[in-house]
Amino acid sequence: MTVTKQEFRHDFAIIASWLPFGAKVLDLGCGDGALLQYLKASLEVRGYGVEKDDANWLAGMSSGINVIQMDLEAGLSGFEDQSFDTVILSQTLQAVHNTEGIVREMLRVGHEVIVTFPNFGYWRNRSQILTGNMPVSKSLPHQWFNTPNVHLCTINDFDQFCKDSNITIKERLVLTDNKPVTFMPNLMGNLAMYRLENTQLK
């Protein structure tokens, strides 16, 4: 087995801390499968990834994870109700068109849902807007004209969305540069991480 040197991902570690050992996990928009690899190695999760992009799909499958090629926008019709312990949407929410539908589908398929996204309310983003430009940063690397992100939101926005949609926030953690942020998270936090469950199902 080859060990590749990888930078420590605090968000991966937090996601792992929200999962039981051996959990059955569905990772939507799994990319090259790095998160699932990490969770397999650390928690022996039984994992499946969903990925639309050919190159990512191939990278994920080659690395030994299960990857189902499909477009999230079409929903999760191939997955039974409550058939996963946890469904994860890691830094993909902002690129999804049918945001509300996807979150509902995740809550249908998983007992729990983990959503992470770049916080648009982060002060560095705000300062770029104040200077008159759309934010471009490490977590939002695209220009306004080529970004895949269509539904950027702030922590406040997502809190409100959960409240309106009757979704319980079990836990919320905010990171900046791999470190937890507790003081004024909507201003100081770069990456928002939510652990959710469906209120109506409880």
């Binding site: 499946y48 050919d54 191939l58 499958m61 299960n66 990857v67 189902i68 997955f79 039974e80 058939s83």
Partner: protein, 388 residues
């Protein structure tokens, strides 16, 4: 570009089976032969065997050539060979002509030992289950207890699926490509039209045309033409032929459009080399395959005992075995929490795409097959260590 990664010159072999084989229909084949080819070398612990299941008109001649000047190699030569996606340096690959076929395995044109005459109409109707059972007998004959993988496209994918259902302990990996868990009514309807073309050909003689020294060419030809339409996508046909004329409009019913001469050529070629009784039985096997049937149509229950790891592949423009049908297989595997990856390849060629060397498609197969563990190198080390 000439790349020297062919398995080279190959020769078919034949295995004879004396024990009577009871078929799903209840009919019994008193004895039979299976003709097959192999490429690569079976390793010491026989853990590197890969079986290729063929589709409707396929054969055991999967890779290589019989002679240097053969015009065409085996039907899946672009996949199989040294350093090809299914690498014969690593794997021992087996191609087999299915029972009831017309390329050397026992079929309707073979001699019925009871009568000394060709079986003809008396040759039983076979099922995918029967084929797989006969393939396990060939594996036994070759001394292979467990296959590293079974690979099949279309009808071959159905056989692959059946292997994992009926003989879970004998297959580690299943590559189910451009296939389906059963045929839709529309799909079966194409088969029915093809069969009617053959059966109503005056030279069919109820299936006993061998005795009359004729072949129902006309029926076979139409059956094949119809098949070819369904194997291509509308776009692929449009791109290949469009409305192109061979010459000018002649106000006749000759092959004036290029598409027409293509279909006629394919039909003629097929009618000259394929057996009508085989065609009838192959399409029937397709129609009958439905592993979920005995479980109230619940494929997830049908796949409960499956243990193999799966790669399922479909092609976006394949309307005869559409991606939606492959996703049914994937869903049933997910319901059983099996190891499965699913690729939906963007391709313009329709059902035929599974035979094309599309780079992404071949990268998928190569990558998946590369990850399959076989003991090619380790075996020697372990043996040396153990004896020391």
């Amino acid at each position: 570009m000439q790349v020297n990664n062919s398995v080279g010159i190959v020769a078919p072999q034949s295995a004879h089976f004396d024990a009577p084989l009871t078929l799903k229909s209840g009919a019994v084949l008193p004895q039979f032969d299976l003709v097959y080819e192999t490429y690569g070398t079976l390793n010491a612990d026989k853990s590197n065997a890969v079986l290729i299941c063929h589709a409707l008109s396929g054969t055991h001649h999967v890779a290589g050539k019989y002679a240097e000047d053969d015009k065409y190699p085996g039907w899946w030569d672009n996949l199989i060979g040294p350093n090809k996606p299914l690498d014969t340096h690593k794997f021992f690959v087996i191609g087999v002509n299915n029972l009831g076929g017309c390329h050397g395995s026992t079929g309707a044109a073979s001699t019925n030992p009871a009568t000394g005459q060709p079986w003809g109409s008396q040759f039983p109707v076979l099922t995918v289950e029967d084929w797989v059972t006969s393939q396990t007998l060939l594996a036994d004959y070759l001394g292979i207890q467990q296959l590293a993988a079974v690979v099949g496209g279309s009808l071959g994918g159905m056989q692959t699926l059946q292997w994992t259902i009926a003989y879970p302990e004998r297959v580690r990996h299943a590559l189910v490509i451009a296939s389906a868990p059963n045929l839709t009514a529309q799909n079966m309807a194409f088969n029915e039209v093809a069969r009617q073309a053959i059966i109503t050909d005056p030279e069919f003689h109820g299936g006993d045309y061998y005795a009359h020294g004729v072949v129902p060419r006309r029926g076979l030809r139409i059956a094949r033409m119809l098949g070819h339409i369904t194997y291509l996508s509308d776009d692929a046909m449009g791109e290949k032929f469009g409305r192109k004329l061979k010459d000018t409009i002649k106000y006749s019913f000759d092959a004036e459009f290029e598409m027409e001469s293509y279909l006629r050529y394919q039909g003629d070629k097929f009618a000259g080399e394929f057996d009508a009784n085989t065609y009838l039985r192959m399409t029937r096997a397709l129609d009958y395959f439905d592993p979920a049937l005995e479980y109230n149509g619940d494929l997830s229950v049908a796949l409960k005992k499956v243990t193999a790891q799966f790669l399922v592949v479909s092609f976006t423009s394949d309307w005869r075995f559409s991606p939606a049908r492959s996703r049914e297989i994937v869903k049933a595997l997910l319901d059983n929490e099996r190891t499965v990856s699913y690729a939906e390849v963007t391709a313009a060629h329709g059902h035929d795409a599974f035979l094309m060397p599309d780079p992404h498609y071949h990268a998928i197969l190569r990558s998946y097959l590369d990850n399959i563990q076989v003991n090619n190198i380790q075996v020697n080390n372990i043996q040396v260590g153990g004896k020391a």
